[in-house]
Symmetry: none
Subunit: 261 residues, 2 copies
């Protein structure tokens, strides 16, 4: 190009545009349900071609932050009724990590209308009991790093989880340091930083009524069950993480797609 080529210093231009628009949505500058600037407007504002604008918008769309309607415009997505833990999110997370973009699935999910969130965390070193040894496929008593989280959005607890990692794998790394939580990119990113690219995830799903401790920490209303997800994270054939995730059933809908091809 004659002018303003600068295509590849730092992040790609369309990523920068996406980042800026993402910030406007998350900060509330573009409220849920409202119209984004038109593509023509964005072309002028960022001084880029339409293709670049559309590439940026397609990023936001794939993150579920926007929806577009032909002839009308592109809108910031209004708050979803419930959180959707799409199984595909692991795939998306992985691609994000690889491409250097951040944001955990949780934060992405919560972005719309749940801008502020924090978490409680407790780290411990424990020996594997029978259940965990079985899930990991290791010997009884193998040392694990047990991390307990409670995720809050807008002050309301959304889910609690107990995540275990093999201690020998993470001891002495930043992952074992609670002060690094929340870690942008989540588990996927943490494991990636150790050189492990996750290859599969297995989730077993159950539901039951919460016990008193759960209904207290998660503030589960009466008559609402909890969904329990037992998750195993695989690198090749090795289980590198086992987590038990507890979510009030009125705050979640799980989404799985099974390809038979």
């Amino acid at each position: 190009m004659a002018d303003v080529p600068t295509p590849h210093q730092g992040a790609a231009r369309y990523r920068q545009v996406a980042e800026e628009l993402r910030h406007r949505i998350l900060s509330g500058a573009i409220p849920p349900g409202s119209l984004l600037p038109s593509e023509a407007t964005l072309m002028a504002e960022f001084a880029v071609a339409r293709g670049t604008v559309r590439e940026a918008l397609s990023v936001l769309k794939s993150e579920g932050l926007t929806v577009s309607e032909k002839g009308r415009g592109t809108f910031a997505r209004s708050a979803p009724p419930v959180r959707r833990l799409a199984a595909d999110r692991y795939r998306a997370e992985l691609e994000q990590v690889r491409s250097g973009e951040l944001g955990t699935s949780f934060t992405v999910d919560q972005r719309i209308g749940w801008a502020e969130y924090h978490l409680d965390k407790t780290f411990n070193e424990v020996a594997a009991d029978e259940t965990r040894a079985d899930l990991f496929g290791v010997a009884l008593g193998t040392m694990l790093l047990e991390r307990r989280f409670v995720f809050y959005a807008k002050g309301l607890p959304q889910q609690s989880s107990v995540s275990c990692l093999l201690l020998e794998m993470v001891a002495g790394t930043p992952i074992a340091d609670p002060s690094n939580e929340p870690w942008p990119g989540g588990n996927t990113s943490q494991l990636y930083s150790l050189g492990h690219t996750i290859t599969a995830v297995r989730e077993q799903v159950r539901a039951r009524m919460p016990n008193s401790a759960e209904s207290e920490t998660l503030r589960v209303p009466g008559g609402v069950p909890v969904v329990i997800i037992t998750r195993q994270t695989y690198v090749e054939d090795r289980v590198v993480e086992v987590a038990e995730i507890t979510i009030p059933a009125d705050r979640v809908s799980l989404d799985y797609r099974i390809d038979l091809t």
Copy 2:
């Protein structure tokens, strides 16, 4: 454009290209792990601009069918997803159906331990309400064959389900005849008999307390929630069946495996 604009007769060109490539991958013409034709090659083959080719490839990428590597090429995803139990069930059914070992053998359900079972069934023709029209991706009011089942094992109700098929697809076929239930091989087999091989299944999972009708028909003990699975059965990109399955949570554990390769 001067020549071959024809941008909008039927599906968009990039969708057609995506469809063709998808077919090659799913049919095995492009085996898992192998290289797709380069973008330049595809441009020539389909006589489209590079942007169109890339749009098509981005569709496949978002479906998890391909991965691309800068400087190397675009590859068909190496390992197709494998599932267990609830999910593996569909795969097993499909293999059974394909191998033609139907009349002789037990159904997959029986294999899992539903040895002796019977079912209550009610068939109706109904118009699609908003929810169902949305799940099917068809117009409001489209006629559906609604089939209600209650499955019993050893006299105890295990699950109830409401399964809908497109009426125009099944009207006048043996599938529309309740007296043919239970149909060995289940839905997979039924659709196969119409020439449709299912390619994917999507399940959305929720949990809540049962209502009084549910706790009666399913004999759900007090304090036990039900798991609700909303299932969409796909043949290519078309939804051919929508089912809502209700299972007492104390009688089920769902198992999903997500491959990220």
